[in-house]
Amino acid sequence: MRLLFILGEIGSGLRRNLSMVISVVLVTFVSLTFVGAAGMLQMQINQMKGYWYDKVQVAVFLCNDGSTAVGCASGPATKEQQDNLQAMLESPAVKQYINDFQFESQAEAYKHFKEQFSNSPIVDSVSEDQLPASFRINMKNPEKYQIISETFSSQPGVETVSDQRQVLERIFSWMNGASVAAMGVAAVMIFCAVLLITTTIRLSAFSRRRETGIMRLVGASKTVIQLPFILEGVIAAVVGALLASVTLWLMAHFWLNGDLSRQFLNTPFISSTQVLVIAPVLIALGGGLAGISSLLTLRRYLKV
């Protein structure tokens, strides 16, 4: 009976305050979408890190005809220089840092290049001898890149030592920046949402002060008086959180796993099921914030 009664009270409260309730739903929806997007970006970064960090290599490029680096003053790398480098890679001093390495000749480099840019006219303007041969090194610990770089970059016949991870780091730091920005927007929006919920509950309490006054006089418990108001805020926020979750799922499903993954074939995107991990967090966050702010408002504006 009491449950039915409380549900009825919630229903009438929601109806009476419809426009305010809708604005609470929308503001929580937008703010939690940003929170979720930030979360998704972090998940995406982790996913890409896990995927790429195993594959990235340190490349020691050898001099070719067109090289202008200081180490290449004597022209293209000779077979002797190449053997020397290989011996260094196999020496215990270096070996402790690397898993393995392969030599990529100019011919192989050209083959890979053609594969990678198969749709681009640039392939026709590049010839085999323009591409450098290289040692591709898989690091045991990618953080130790600096040691390899220092050891090899001053060797004769080496044009440059490049760490593919640095390229990725730039992408990740860009993505990190984006997720921080999303969190910033989310923080502002959440602040708005809390203020809006507070105002809504205040209005709701004011418009029902007759009922609550009578409830108090006939000895209704604090819970029975306050619960409808609190649940009103919580329901609105949870609806907003559900909308945000659905939006994020749609984004992941149709955009990340649709368009984007067709465009970037070898980039691992987070799946739409992974987004479902974020949904409960958003719902708990929305509901929790609404509950707490309603409770605090009622303590000030509803005498019990």
């Binding site: 009976m1 009664f5 007759r210 006054g213 009578i214 006939v218 000895g219 209704a220 418990s221 029975v224």
Partner: protein
Amino acid sequence: MIRFENVTKVYEQNARPALDSVSLEINRGEFTFLVGASGSGKSTFLRLILKEDKASSGSVYVAGQNVANISSWRVPKLRRGIGVVFQDFRLLPQKNVFANVAFAMQVIGKSRSIIRETVPEVLKTVGLEGKEKRMPHELSGGEQQRVAIARAVVNRPGILLADEPTGNLDPITSMGIMGVLDKINQNGTTVVMATHDDDIVNEMRRRVVELKNGKVIRDEAKALYTSMIPVVGESRRLKDASGEELNRAQGAQL
């Protein structure tokens, strides 16, 4: 049932206390009128019983319990034992008569079947049988007050507090309301009624407690609205009046 021991209530420091060391006992089943001018402390007296306010000093006992010792989460339990009626009825305009009375039972979690059984009974007691479906605006003032009384007593409280219940009603309707309150009192409920209505007090001949500036200046059984015995605060006025009469009498003699 209700006992005040040296109760003082100060709302604002430096201001005159709303109640000034009031000691009073109202017994179970008694009907007591609380009279006095506006601002004499009648409403404060009622609010202290409900624990809407805290006494600044002294103790208020309701049903043997010092209300100061009732923790905030048990205050609802105290209030379930007290019905309250106001001058302005305070009905819920969008609920019909039945729903208004049932509301008081719903919010304390009474079952639907008990509500269906009890509400018509109570409406019969206050003389509103057959008007369950009416909306408050379709009722006269007297009928609205009867609904309010029904709501106040539907949970069978031991005490009924009435704050100027006839303040908005004409004399004949007021007497009808008094009949209802009397009937409730006959059933064993302690009734405390704050009022300005001298006709009613004089008609009913019940205990009268008169407050003035927060002090009890009269407490008489089966009394009238104005005192029959000169009391401390009133004596000068009465003396003056009689003195004037004396002068007039002397003038007539001359």
